[in-house]
């Protein structure tokens, strides 16, 4: 069973602002989901490898080249709502 402190901690890890009402609601709902997935304990996975890729492809290499003619720098910078400074996005300070 989860408590509200755990929910607040997880929200902090996810950089997700939650209201008090959301904390309450998610405490109940996430507990329900985690209770449900307990069903997996029934499965014996002692000598089973975990799946990470389903079609068996591995080590796919490609040339590390910049492709021209796609989105331009201006178009990419045009996607932000923040101010542009010297062809970069200006953000607020990371340290107070």
């Amino acid at each position: 069973m989860l408590n509200e402190d755990t929910i607040k901690h997880v929200a902090k890890l996810a950089r997700l602002g939650l209201t008090d009402a959301e904390v309450k609601k998610f405490t109940t709902q996430l507990s329900g989901v985690l209770e449900y997935v307990e069903i997996l304990k029934e499965v014996d996975t002692e000598n089973v490898a975990e799946t990470s890729q389903v079609t068996g492809l591995k080590d796919v290499f490609g040339k590390d080249e910049v492709e021209k003619g796609k989105a331009s720098r201006e178009e990419l910078l045009g996607c932000t709502e923040l101010p542009i400074d010297s062809k970069q996005v200006r953000v607020m300070p990371a340290i107070k």
Binding site: G17, V33, V54, C79, V89
Partner: protein, 475 residues
Amino acid sequence: MTDLNKLTIREVHEGLLVKKFTSVEVTKSCFDEIKKRNKDLNAFVSLDEDGAMKSAQEVDAKIANGEKISLLGGIPAAVKDLINTRGIKTTCCSPFLKDFVPPYDATVVEKLKAHDFVMLGKTNLDEFACGASTEHSCFGVTKNPYDLERVAGGSSGGSAAAVAADMAFYALGTDTGGSIRQPASLCGTYGMKVTYGRVSRSGVTAMASSWDTVGHFARNVDDVAIVLEAIAGRDVKDSTTPDIKVPDYSKFLSAGVKGLKIGLPKEYFGEGIEKETADTVKAAVLKLEKEGAQVVEVSLPSTKYAVAVYYITMPAELSTNLERFDGIRYGKKPANEPDNLVDYYFAARAEGFGDEIKRRIMIGTYVLSAGYYDAYYKKAQKVRTVIIQDFVKVFEKVDVLIAPVSPFPAFKIGELVDNPLAMYMADALTIPASAAGLPSLACPVGMSASGLPIGLQVIAPQFREDLCLQVGARV
């Protein structure tokens, strides 16, 4: 000329070539239908009428000049609104991206443009493709063309409704745990979920990367095959697409089912599945048996664990993929900008994400957090291996599997929205094939007594979409 919007792709193509009608007229017939019905259905969240008419005029000019056009040339279609379309808003139906205009096309869109694509507009979905009803869209729910009080399914509900209501000839969608097959089934249309890696996902907003696929909806199997051939194949921008030849899928449609071995997994016809749905699917299988198919009951014993595997691994991968949404390089900035970066992240994400996304980010972050990774994520990926082994064993005995798509026909709007676990069960029969990366074609197969569509799915081994289509053509 009336009802051009109801023809098949081949009929339109032939009509265009003999100049019986023009692509402009065909496109106009789609927009006429959209104007009549979209107000009620809410399948499209944005339209590009000018762009579509211009593309149609270009196709007509080519035909007039005697230039060759492909089967898909000038055929109007719709695109799920989490697939990037250059210069056209792509919102993922999230408040975060409500005004986002992508600076490049997804590979699937590029491929269709090489076939003289006429794009009508963008279709509704559950925010970031998370849901089974499109109720989690910032543009409101898509309604079922058969009953406006019911959902169209999800997450690709807008694409399904657009095709089912003859507003588009085909529509692109995505299927992670059932997001093409389930809405196709609820709306009575065809939905192709491809093998993992068969169609490039470059330029499509990622949800759960070890599950995500791009596919499509259409109104008959031949149309499904034509579109699949155009969008499938290797793409250097998506390293999960193997270099496996894309066959001429249409040529398998006339092969029939004689001699084919069809498995009916008993777990898909038992507890939790409405009897009417199970009976309708069984009746369709009986017809295939009369045509010479060999039908056997098989077992996929781990089926009941698939939803739990999905609701650990999917949120884990989703929460990781959505880390990039910080409101800085793209997406909405918060209404009141905090004066430091960390608070900015919290505010941007609090305002940008809807309820279901927050819930899944929370589950995903929890199961990946220190101390829980082995117990949840790793355990789930091990059980996923067991589910895959079930399919491997069963495909040693049969060529394809047939099963219901959804345990029940379209449910009422609002019926499941406050009960996340019940909503997750709507995908109980589509998640297992996704877990194993298998192709599956949803086909309409009948109607319930209350007048709602019922669908079945044909599941085949990896990269055997041809078998799905071959059987689907006889359903």
